[in-house]
Symmetry: C2
Subunit: 251 residues, 2 copies
């Protein structure tokens, strides 16, 4: 049992969760060009601090990639070189669109998940999971702007910041990866481990504005976001419809 | 005027803040070995999204560095190559201790600040600011474990997550850099810019535990942290006492 507070926005399904374990834990974190770096660096901050664990940063090749804002991220190894890991972190961001037909990435996610191991997506990393076919029948979340696309991948969209459905943990947009990583740490080890990490990174967040969600942001702020977002929204919806046809999902 | 909510843990002194400006904004973000990566990647996520701005990642040399957990961070340029910037981000983490006598780093901070430009420290980056001599008479914050050392550097310690004192913005520990970066974005541009960034990164944080501060963490979690932290605590206190003597500060 976890001692999560009942007022926190987390949904946990009835499906069996990954068992807690004391053995050495290996985590693989996927990075790719034009991703959103904090989808990865947020969870890295938490997961890399789990005692008796190793985190590998993995990419399609050994070369550094740049995130959508230009930050250079450097992998430790290529996908081909990556050993079997216990947890696979799948971040999102604009660049996720360029991987929706990348069979190397999709089969990495698919095979890892099929073996019953934990997949942890952040933001539109959930769409990569959808393209890999692992969202069918699963409760899931993603960035608020993309929630409506989850059914195209056969998922049950849940308006929670963190959703745990068996060996699938999905986080809402971008910074939700921090909240979800604490959940993953507590699921795989114990609450006290997650709590000590939270204390060390002084994670008692308190933003000066309440503009993190569309229903709390000022109307003109939401409008400005929607305008800037419209091109990729169209592209993501087209991709979702294409996948719904391939997966035989009626939406 | 900023429309910050009154219940948010931010302290703003009476000293003149940097003026809002529409001109192109340049930001320099310092990285160094054994830093805490999210002290940098958190603010990067926000600051890099300010319209009409450029963010430079800077280090002592052009070579990549690894954060305390092994993440590779790559600079765009060396300190020597860095142009004058409007904002200087000074992150913290264990590796800050190795720079407390690094005159190249300290004079970068000192000269930037003396010219009236904005210094933004996160976590124990405040101690680097202290070593540079810029905290004297200033209200400031830092990681909760290090607050008690601020007076040795002549600072007025404030138990806020974000403190703005003129051209000095200090954030509390690690993840407080995200909260403070939204403040910096709103100070330098307008609230709506910060709010749109917050919406895009879905920054509506809600951790499952309330363990981010020593007074809310379970007692055994705090005790475990203090044990793991004792070595660097001793080292940081010795450094602070040494600086108090140099700066002529009576504590």
């Amino acid at each position: 049992m976890n001692s999560y507070d009942m007022d926190t926005p987390i949904t946990i399904s009835d499906r069996d969760k990954p068992a807690r374990q004391d053995k050495h834990l290996t985590i693989g974190a996927l990075i790719f060009p034009r991703m959103d770096q904090i989808d990865f660096t947020g969870p890295f901050e938490v997961l890399s601090r789990i005692p008796n664990s190793t985190i590998h940063v993995i990419a399609k090749t050994n070369s550094p990639v740049r995130d959508i804002q230009g930050l250079v991220l450097t992998p430790d190894m290529s996908i081909a070189e990556t050993p079997e890991v216990d947890v696979l972190l799948v971040p999102g961001g604009h660049g996720q669109q360029q991987l929706m037909n990348d069979e190397e990435v999709l089969s990495l996610i698919r095979n890892h998940f099929a073996a019953g191991r934990l997949v942890f997506s952040v933001c539109t990393g959930a769409l990569l999971c959808g393209a890999a076919g692992i969202l069918r029948g699963r409760q899931a979340t993603t960035h608020w702007s993309t929630w409506s696309l989850l059914p195209y991948y056969g998922a049950i969209p849940i308006r929670s910041r963190v959703v745990v459905d068996g060996n699938l943990v999905t986080a809402a947009g971008v910074t939700a990866g921090l909240d979800a990583a604490l959940v993953v740490a507590s699921l795989l080890r114990e609450d006290a481990i997650a709590q000590q990490i939270q204390l060390s990174i002084q994670y008692a967040p308190n933003p000066v504005f309440h503009s993190g969600m569309p229903d709390t942001a000022p109307a003109e702020v939401l409008q400005a976001f929607n305008q800037s977002y419209s091109a990729i929204a169209v592209s993501r919806e087209a991709e979702a419809r294409r996948f719904a046809a391939i997966l035989g999902v009626a939406v």
